[in-house]
Symmetry: C2
Subunit: 410 residues, 2 copies
Amino acid sequence: HADSARTNATLQAACTWGNTPDGGMDRLTCNNDDKSVRDWFISETKKYGCHHRVDEMGNIFAIRPGQNNNLPPIGLGSHLDTQPTGGKYDGILGVICGMEVLQVLHANNVTTYAPVAVVNWTNEEGARFPPAMLCSGVWGGEFTAKYAQGRQDPEGNSLGAELKRIGYMGPTPCSFEANPLLAHFEVHIEQGPILDVAEKPVGIVRGVQSIRWCNVGITGREAHTGTTPMDRRCDALLGAAKMIVETNRIVTETEVAPRGGRATIAVINSLPQSINTIAGKVNLGLDIRAPADSDVALIEKQCIEGFEKICKQHGLEMSFDNFWVSPALNFDPTMVSCVKQSAAELGCDIEIVSGAGHDSVYTSRKVPTAMIFVRCKDGVSHHPAEFSREEDCAAGAETLLRAYLRYDDY
Amino acid sequence: HADSARTNATLQAACTWGNTPDGGMDRLTCNNDDKSVRDWFISETKKYGCHHRVDEMGNIFAIRPGQNNNLPPIGLGSHLDTQPTGGKYDGILGVICGMEVLQVLHANNVTTYAPVAVVNWTNEEGARFPPAMLCSGVWGGEFTAKYAQGRQDPEGNSLGAELKRIGYMGPTPCSFEANPLLAHFEVHIEQGPILDVAEKPVGIVRGVQSIRWCNVGITGREAHTGTTPMDRRCDALLGAAKMIVETNRIVTETEVAPRGGRATIAVINSLPQSINTIAGKVNLGLDIRAPADSDVALIEKQCIEGFEKICKQHGLEMSFDNFWVSPALNFDPTMVSCVKQSAAELGCDIEIVSGAGHDSVYTSRKVPTAMIFVRCKDGVSHHPAEFSREEDCAAGAETLLRAYLRYDDY
Ligand SMILES: NC(=O)NCCC(=O)O
Ligand SMILES: NC(=O)NCCC(=O)O
């Protein structure tokens, strides 16, 4: 059985590095706190009989041998990186539940049929190095290691250079083919309100909705704010503002709204950042989601059309780069049924489609994959107030343990 | 007579430091290029018989003695700092015209009645350390030296610390009382299209319009872009975008529009700058202008009202700080008539109210002040394409020379 006190003590230990005064976390990929928690993860999992494999994307596989070590391990994975205004549960809970499974096996001297690997996937959030799920994406064949290592943060540091800096660019090639798993289970907080409203500790994840990320570049013309008549301006920031409003209008007032379309601009950069010079260059980051791939495509199309009109009206040039597409998907039926049976034993039967992307999206490209959601307060995440009760965290670990053992038997 | 070739050679020399590949300038207050051009200004003006006074705000007075050195000098001033996307004329031309006057006096062995001081005022643009005209403002009694030295750039460096770093925090107290002038003339590019349309090289500046600068802080709530329903968001960037659009609407569609009201948001900063976390904090810089003080106040009031409605609609908190007020003003009639007579000798009689603020705004608080505008192409400024013809620059210097000698006689 998963131990609630132990699970939560491990979770708190994992939040030793990068916690913020408001109770949240700020542990961006490959910063010094990320290095510290990686060191901790390795030394802790060694105690439960694991050896380690670190791949060229910094993904860490803590492997506990089974009876048949010629088989690839069954993966129990998630991520230890966080948003800049993140909480203590998003990603972290999934790795900790995997560690709790290791501790249960270790304490009970169990040798499983296949080996098991608790995996810390690098840069799941994509907050520092967009896109999200970047390094599970390399493993799953969506991105090349070269592309992923070359991704840059706003200061121009590449992920590859930062992995080297913290000593986590490992020797193992990053791919299913070079370093396979047999299957992948992931526990994650729901990040939505369904379980909280239904008063259930855990839920069964049926699949993940569709996501696209785009960069929008807007070029106007710098000019004096005090002397330039209002009708002679090419104001890139005014154009950007109208695009943000238009994006919101599309997903709240057009046909995609009742079908659950969402679109957000949360990143903006403007130059030359002088209060008396009209902005000449603005960049926006656009996040589009919907249950259906076709709706995500439709929202993107409507955005481009609306943005082009705004550019025409204000004499602006636009570049539009859809740099990430993550289609909607359903998880493996056998895996989902392992989760379903285990959740049922805890009195839970709610099935959910995830609004957020997860590393399991990319592991599912190569191996049978399923996810377990844990209830979180008010559905809040990417905020310091993110919270899951101790007993719910333990319920997540217990469901994982049972689902995993079911699959190991099977 | 002012020499066209010499005036323009001096101007080009002053643009040795901080010029950009696109033909413009990026010489923010107190950066290393600003230090270099200050060193150059002192060594050049020494050649024409000047000694120097540097005050505690880094304002440099290059003083050429007259017959009556118990009199304060007549000031010929402007500024050598630029916008980040600035041109080679805004401010620089005014200092260079003063230097040309010195060279004419020197070459002709003239000893004027009163001493003359060519002044380089610190941080006129306000681009790095808002507000604008900060250090002529201290001299004119609008700001305390303590306030001005404490102003910070976005990285948190104070103007005082930066003045010390480049060796330009001088020993002279910065005030009219401690370091008086007798009067202040300033040549500046028009930064508007009137002279260009009228095909006149120079114009007479009657006064300066009204200006206010404000900082707007918007606080929402960070949340996941993928899992947070559109109707459950407190999106600070969406609110900010609506404020930018509303600001533009006020000055283009309400009663202030035909009266020449202008308002611009050109500075935006958003946190946490992660593409999948809804922005929780945004700051905006708001620049409001109009010929009448009452219209600037009205625009501010309309903005606050509009912004408050937006905050209510989106569950946002707002702080609004009007940190700078520069009322409309008219220059001294005697000084303006000296400019008028001199411009008339060059066939120019157009009177203009400046849309931009200038150091002369603050010198006029203490001493008779007037300005001469020089034609600039298409009225463009705060842009690398800013341009004034060589003969127009020389016409500015010639008008300054004549107006100044008129006042010295008088
Ligand atoms: N779980 C989570 O927040 N993942 C980040 C990827 C996304 O934006 O959906
Ligand atoms: N001349 C000039 O651009 N001054 C800067 C102050 C202002 O914004 O008007």
